[in-house]
Symmetry: C2
Subunit: 288 residues, 2 copies
Amino acid sequence: MKTLKAITFYNFLLIFSISMTGQNNAGKNAGKIIESIIKQTGSGTVPNTVDVIKAGDANTPVKGIVTSMFATMDVLKKAVAMNCNLIIAHEPLFYNHLDETKQFANDQVFLEKKKFIDDNKLIIWRFHDYIHRIKPDAIDLGMAKKLGWERYSPDKEYNMFIIPETTLRELLVELKRVFPKNAFNVVGNPDMRLSKVAFSAGAPGSSQHIRLLEDTSVDVVLAGEVPQWETYEYARDAVSQGRKKAIIFLGHVTSEEPGMEYCAEWLKGFIKDIPVNFVASGPSYWTY
Amino acid sequence: MKTLKAITFYNFLLIFSISMTGQNNAGKNAGKIIESIIKQTGSGTVPNTVDVIKAGDANTPVKGIVTSMFATMDVLKKAVAMNCNLIIAHEPLFYNHLDETKQFANDQVFLEKKKFIDDNKLIIWRFHDYIHRIKPDAIDLGMAKKLGWERYSPDKEYNMFIIPETTLRELLVELKRVFPKNAFNVVGNPDMRLSKVAFSAGAPGSSQHIRLLEDTSVDVVLAGEVPQWETYEYARDAVSQGRKKAIIFLGHVTSEEPGMEYCAEWLKGFIKDIPVNFVASGPSYWTY
């Protein structure tokens, strides 16, 4: 009896604690949970958003949540092993921005991935447009946390950092310490001294990168990816002209994965009765 | 007199030899030389081609020709030092596919590059659409020559090679030998055995890459570049599903620069009275 009483009291505390500090999500279906996440971002409705369910049934009750950069085959398998059925991925499921699948009707890779999702009753939701609209942008904040640079962002927007003066070479050593498996594509003089670092996650296009490189209050840009005939060549010419500018391409995954790691922490702030886990997809390639 | 006679006879031979084996280009302006190059490709007119003069005056007499992958600041300076004023580049001059410059009206990098071109009366012509239409595609043939793989192309199209069976790891060692400064982005199992290699230069888009990876007559694709959320993730899923497939991204420059090296040889086949030189721009970035 004593034990039962204790359990009952514990359950009361648990339920009380959920109602005090978070939503009651137990038994909620994926559609409802996604709605509540979007609400929590504080963003107005994004027209034509890509943040829709890419596969699976919105009516499925959610057992557990996995956040990831990409819902790769590997991430999906890990999610199933962790008994999680809602996968929240920042990027597309099927290899193009809008997840168009018509061209994959007879593609074995697509069909096997789709079958795995269906067989395991998974729901894949993309969380892209809305996570970037959290104030401050949760992808930027995730990177700041990963680098330990929150204190270096004067305006707390986490896309512009004033770090203690260092060289491009030393900055790369520090980045390698944080992302040991990552290859960094760099345009710039390794001896260049710098302290003003802009962060431009993902693939916003070269005009954003170039605007940052033009800005006299920026020494170096940490970027995700871009076509190589665009920002890369602009930066190469700038350096060749003797300008004190540099850009480091982290790769798309590395530039935004810390944001999806932080996303799991952010979700745990209001989803307390469903397990939430971050699963790294890691860079899509290895470098030789 | 003997000497003069000898020189005169030599000049006669030179002129005779030019008229027999090539065009007489001495004193020709850039516009005329470009016309003759396009004619030599054997291609019909390409509508809306990007192969236009990007900077400089078509009426300028050509002193010498430089072929390059990109007309970087560095390549332009080398061309001037070599007394060459027609630069034939495969890719854009001003950091976007159509060389739109409106957004650079106040950009110091653009203005300095433009001034250098104007001050030195250079002509920059893009040779992209037409060089790919030479039969066989001269960019593909350039890569085959660079790798020493001409004999491995059964159809002599140089975009599909049957090489002696090897592993992905050993293939990368060979590629590193040919391109020692290049970083290769790889998706695939290093121990995978392979012999059927498809080559897909530049940035043709993921649908071409994926079509090649779907093809049972292809083990590995040598590619240029692509957005990382496209082919990279498709290939990662394919490998994760246990498929015997791999893709190696050489980077955009490395995938097409051998073609522009070969282009200089090809031009020398019919332009014999103007110096023609290849100048490497090299990869746009270094990798750490």
